[in-house]
Amino acid sequence: MSLKFFAVAFLATTSFFATAQIDPSLLKRTTSDTLKQIMNMDAIYNRPALKYDKLPVSLGGYVEANYQYLGTDGISEGHQFQFRRLTLFVSSTISKRIKFLSEIEFEPADKEIAIEFAAVDVEFHPLLNLRGGMIVNPIGAFNQNHDGPKWEFIDRPISATQMLPATWSNAGFGLYGKYYKKDWMFGYELYATSGFDNSIIENDQNRTSLPAAKENAERFEENNSGEPLITGKIAVKNTKVGEVGLSYMGGAYNKFQDDGLQLDDKRKVNVFAVDLKTTINKTKTNFIGEWAWVFVDVPETYSQQFGNKQRGGFLDIVQPVLNRTILGWNNSVLNLACRLEYVDYNVGKFTETKEKIADDVWSVMPAISFRPSAQTVFRLNYRIQKQRDLLGNPPANTAGISFGISTYF
């Protein structure tokens, strides 16, 4: 797909609503659901949207742009102005208890147009829903809940994007459901999808990399290993305490057979993640975090440059400090925040020296964010990051500022 396609699609979609320019009141804004019975798994549908008259289609999306000035060990690429992405949502209720939502992302820097989510949901019972199509695998918390305007930080978490492959979606089917009683909620998801390929350990990152498999768009047509990638998650939420999720994603990743011939041993990837979200009611301090473990079956004859274990995660702490009318915006919020991140890309010891392999990164990112409305955020981040190579040599020190805006529209 090309940017030309994007332009045509965007113009066609927006021109449909052109009359709304004459009378803006015709275009109704449906805000995201603020009911307490919302869990992380609901992030896909819990987005603001625009609705036109009685048309059974809602349109939404978000946009992200930012400025960065970062440097590593005294060397900077200078002032960078980045248009990260434009994402469009189109959703509709097809009939009673059958709905559809699609999320299409345009990332001009990568010349990429990606369908991140496009699935039909059929509800048989609140505890039994069928979902089929292009599915966002529910591993951890971030992958499903990745919309820029929801976060106080410009960059996505390192562990979610460079260890786990957010945003990671695949063709497939599965079930999900929710049950709630008083303050308690329970949710589950279970999907079988297409999955990874050999690029996990054969890539130009020179390390085990689940995100490298994102490059392979053929996975939407042909599952490399021929075996399903199973993704499952259970989550429990207490409205007064918070939400905890446990998730798993795994399956064979390599093409171990073709045309009836055995080409290689079957090699598996397994990912386990735990995520949490809570708020201290007294101070309104929000915590959201995720920690994941990745296990990859790497051939013993391969280079230890490619590790068979990875681990990492992030913790966001967000403290609202002002919540009132600021510069004429009612109910605007000023937050102080900080993100703590760590990833060990290669957990293990060198065969030769029995000493620990490094290849890790940690980062601290204090931030100020200003939300003139719940759907728009201005963010100012300062990153401090140290990254060590495989051998554990003196780390590369990175620091710098980012300023950006992200908003639903």
Partner: protein, 399 residues
Amino acid sequence: MYKRYVLVITFLFLAVIFTVSCEKILPPSPANDELLDGPVEGLTTAQAAQHHAGDVAFNDQVFTRETGLGPIFVATSCGSCHAGDGKGHPFSTLTRFGINDSLGRNEFDNGPQLQNRALPGYMPEQLPPGTPFASFTPPANTGLGFLELVSEDDLLAMAAANTTNPDGVRGHPNWSALPTFVSPNPNSYTQNGRYITRFGKKAATYNLFHQTVQAYNQDIGITSTFNPSDVYSHLDIDPEVSDKIVRDVIFYLQTLKAPIQRNQSDPDVIQGGALFAQVGCESCHKQTLTTGFSPVEALSNKQFHPYTDLLLHDMGPGLDDGLIEGTSKTSEWRTPPLWGLGLSKNSQGGKYFLLHDGRAKSIDEAIQLHGGEAATAKNKFNALKAAERQQLIKYLESL
């Protein structure tokens, strides 16, 4: 309304302050003498651009199955073995094996380097039982362009001077047969069809072109127009790296700066330098050499301080691994340059792995493992007082 103006003006003021102070918030560069990488001073803009292109190819280009890696290999990229252009780690140590005959036959035919790693589905090479072998820890790349430009006349003159060395130092050049892709310089000396070679642990490599093409082929399994032989099939195949990239990498290696000595005014370092000469280390670890002419002005006719004579020396039975390359004996090794020695730990994971195979975990241990022609110098070192030995080691760490 007044409050809003104040807020807007404050915001604009902070934005200006923030922008102006941008550079202050970035982490500082390490001192130039704390780094081994970086270009030699005085490159033209065109030369700097080629150095940068070579830097990217050397440090960032990671080969995969799709781009030619293997299928059997030692490493996936140049930078995997030369972190920060410094010495390597036991993880990236390679294995050379076999004994070439006196005519040098089999020297360049599909080996003699063990391909100890393999892509999924393939098996790596196994060392033939009973075969002599030696492990080679990757050397530092820094200052290679200067070493390449030392004239053969200077090498032969140093070898000639050794014949009367009272400590028994008898260093001599390695004379090696050259692979067909290496064109010797017109004024190179020959001996029975062999040429003076100077790079590598056994000084069996003629120049940086030879070294680079061989490393692509033997270390990563990457064929080029210069050496199209595949290490797995032993057949000529299409080139997997372009001529331009090979030449950019060669230029990058040629134009890496020479390491800069640190703590030069420290009294212990000064005294250590005097002891270095007094003990006789300098018989092999020559402090000062001179380059010949180079079209790269920054390298041409320059004095530099590598602490090597680029000659082979018999290091005694303790370092005899049974491997020969070119006309070297099994116990002979090229004098390794000592420049950058004190920074080795920064590329070796915080520890020293010294000598040809990294067996020495400290400078003192490396000295104690010297034998053969270096035995006299080692004994003189051991005869020093403890404080003097520390001064000498401090001097070596300043290099």
